[in-house]
């Protein structure tokens, strides 16, 4: 058997599943967003779903909110993750246990984290009770709204909680494979600690940080259950809005839901493209 044939046979089942399910799903969504569905007699594609989505104020509010959630969560998580990795790269007593605790929430599903954040930060949650204990608030409504709030603070807290270890583990591995020699050289040549970090270590770990950030950004932009648990009703995050439209009793709203799904897919693709381009330029320096 030739190598070409072998490669084809090895790849065929996986490619079949991914192309049919993933790209088939994407394509069907795209077709339906144009009201094109020959199976049920819709043979004249039109832009009506996009027109009604793009003339709806709720869509813009929802888009901005979702972008804010994804951007803020990614930036905060990345910065804290670098800090955490700097902390954990040294050797110290009990490092094994600390590393395990650092990784423990990697395996805890986002949904559980979201419920935990709800119980911690709601107006009758643990922190509100703590504030009441110290007479800082009189009643639950005095506690600042950190969940179901317009700034999506609860959602961002949840993502930061979950993604700091995710980016942190990747950055930590990067730091370990880079080693400390370059930094020692910079230090011996008179660079300050900050200069060494800023001009030596950071450029070396930056590609790793970026690729992890890309995954986090795309995930936080498209996740459903976290904003569904912790988010305000209006405006809702885009995935929540898309799901609502899709399950609306009015079947005519389905193409609008598809159009929103396509917007999410396009935005994640565009973001990834820009991030990768930027990171490549950074590496070439």
């Amino acid at each position: 058997m030739s190598d070409r044939m072998k490669i084809f046979l090895l790849l065929a089942p996986a490619m079949f599943i991914i192309v049919v399910l993933f790209f088939g799903g994407l394509l069907t969504g795209l077709m339906r967003s144009f009201n094109y569905m020959p199976v049920i007699g819709l043979t004249d594609p039109d832009l009506s779903a996009y027109v009604s989505v793009f003339t709806d104020r709720e869509f813009y509010l929802s888009f901005l909110l979702t972008f804010h959630i994804a951007f803020t969560s990614t930036v905060i998580s990345s910065i804290l993750a670098i800090g955490a990795a700097l902390l954990l790269r040294r050797s110290f007593v009990g490092r094994g246990i600390v590393n395990f605790l650092f990784q423990i929430n990697l395996t805890v599903p986002h949904l559980v984290g979201a419920i935990g954040i709800l119980y911690l930060f709601s107006q009758s949650g643990s922190f509100a009770r703590l504030a009441a204990e110290f007479n800082m608030i009189q009643s639950p409504s005095d506690f600042p709204a950190l969940v179901f709030d317009p700034y999506a603070i609860g959602i961002i807290l949840q993502y930061v909680w979950k993604e700091v270890p995710f980016i942190g583990v990747i950055v930590l591995a990067n730091m370990q494979s880079v080693g400390e020699d370059y930094e020692s050289v910079a230090r011996s040549l008179g660079a300050s600690k900050w200069q060494t970090f800023r001009h030596v270590l950071l450029p070396l770990i930056f590609p790793g940080v970026l690729s992890a950030s890309v995954m986090v950004f795309a995930f936080t932009f498209g996740a459903y259950e976290i904003p569904a648990i912790l988010g305000a009703n209006f405006p809702a995050a885009l995935p929540v809005l898309a799901y609502r439209k899709y399950t609306d009793v009015d079947l005519a709203a389905r193409p609008e839901a598809m159009a929103m799904a396509i917007v999410i897919a396009l935005l994640s693709a565009v973001m990834i493209y820009f991030y990768l381009r930027y990171s490549r330029r950074r590496i070439r320096g």
């Binding site: 996986a14 088939g24 902390l87 990784q103 990697l106 949904l111 911690l120 259950e225 899709y246």
Partner: protein
């Protein structure tokens, strides 16, 4: 070297480390407490009465929690099995061969790990309706392959990139059949990759919510769906108990694989999907 400054920096480090670890564990604490609480009202810092009621309810046959647990295990096991079956050969092709169009194949496999599930699942739902796969366990298992399979392929291609096929050639030249060669030579060499990749594919499937909700139509009630329903209906004690059951496999898997998780291995990428 115990000058004042280094001592100050050191205690700063210990303190920030302690804050960090506390913050990472903290959201799990109220869930655990709620599962043993018999009413826990504002402004009590801890429940006044403790009880095993939520756990008894969760473990009873009538609540459906156990049935949901078995269903979730079954779906994740089958999705993992299929991912291994299909992902190992694909990983071999990508890890061991250079061929034209390889970048495109890699991009096609990478795309589902980055594009959010909600972007594709609405279209899949339309297809599955016409195939009669909606509201069925089979449909849910199939749709779980979207996040689990690419991830398995990526892990296995990393394993095969460091794999020496010369041993296979030797076994074959000594008269072993292809099947025997695979069983006695290839499999032992790639087994660690299959185990780690499989455990993480299991976890990725285990944590799926929106794919299951839409394709299962709410009738395939896996543990995360049950958890979501109890959480939004305000049964905090039962939510706590189900939450504890739900995170257990992940923690066991982390204990088993901690050694393999250097962060450089492809396995860590899967955490982005959990």
């Amino acid at each position: 070297m115990t000058t004042k400054e280094t001592l100050g920096i050191r205690s700063f480090r210990v303190l920030t480390g302690a804050v960090l670890i506390t913050w990472l564990i903290l959201p799990l604490v109220p869930l655990a407490i709620w599962s043993f609480a018999k009413g826990w009202f504002y402004p009590d810092l801890l429940p006044r009465n403790w009880s095993l009621r939520a756990w008894e309810y969760a473990m009873s046959d009538t609540s459906g929690v156990l049935a949901s647990l078995w269903l979730t295990i079954w779906i994740s096991l089958v999705a993992t099995f299929l991912s291994v079956l299909v992902g190992v050969p694909a990983g071999r092709a990508l890890g061991m061969y250079k061929f034209r169009g390889k970048e495109i194949v890699e991009l096609l496999i990478l795309a589902p790990t980055i594009v959010p599930g909600i972007a594709v699942v609405l279209g899949i739902h339309s297809i599955f309706i016409s195939l009669g796969l909606t509201n069925s366990v089979e449909g849910v298992i199939l749709v779980h392959l979207i996040p689990t399979l690419p991830y398995m392929v990526l892990v296995m291609s990393g394993i095969f990139a460091n794999y020496d096929p010369a041993f296979e050639a030797q076994a074959r030249s000594l008269g072993a059949s292809p099947l025997k060669t695979f069983w006695y030579v290839t499999l032992p060499a790639i087994r660690p990759g299959i185990i780690v990749g499989g455990l993480f594919a299991f976890l990725v499937s285990w944590s799926q919510y929106i794919l299951t909700l839409l394709i299962g139509g709410g009738r395939v009630e896996t543990l995360p769906l049950l958890l979501f329903n109890f959480a939004t209906s305000g049964r905090n004690d039962i939510t706590g108990a189900i939450g504890m059951i739900y995170i257990l496999p992940g923690i066991i898997i982390l204990l088993l694989t901690a050694k393999h998780l250097s962060g450089r291995s492809g396995a860590v990428g899967g955490f982005g999907q959990i």
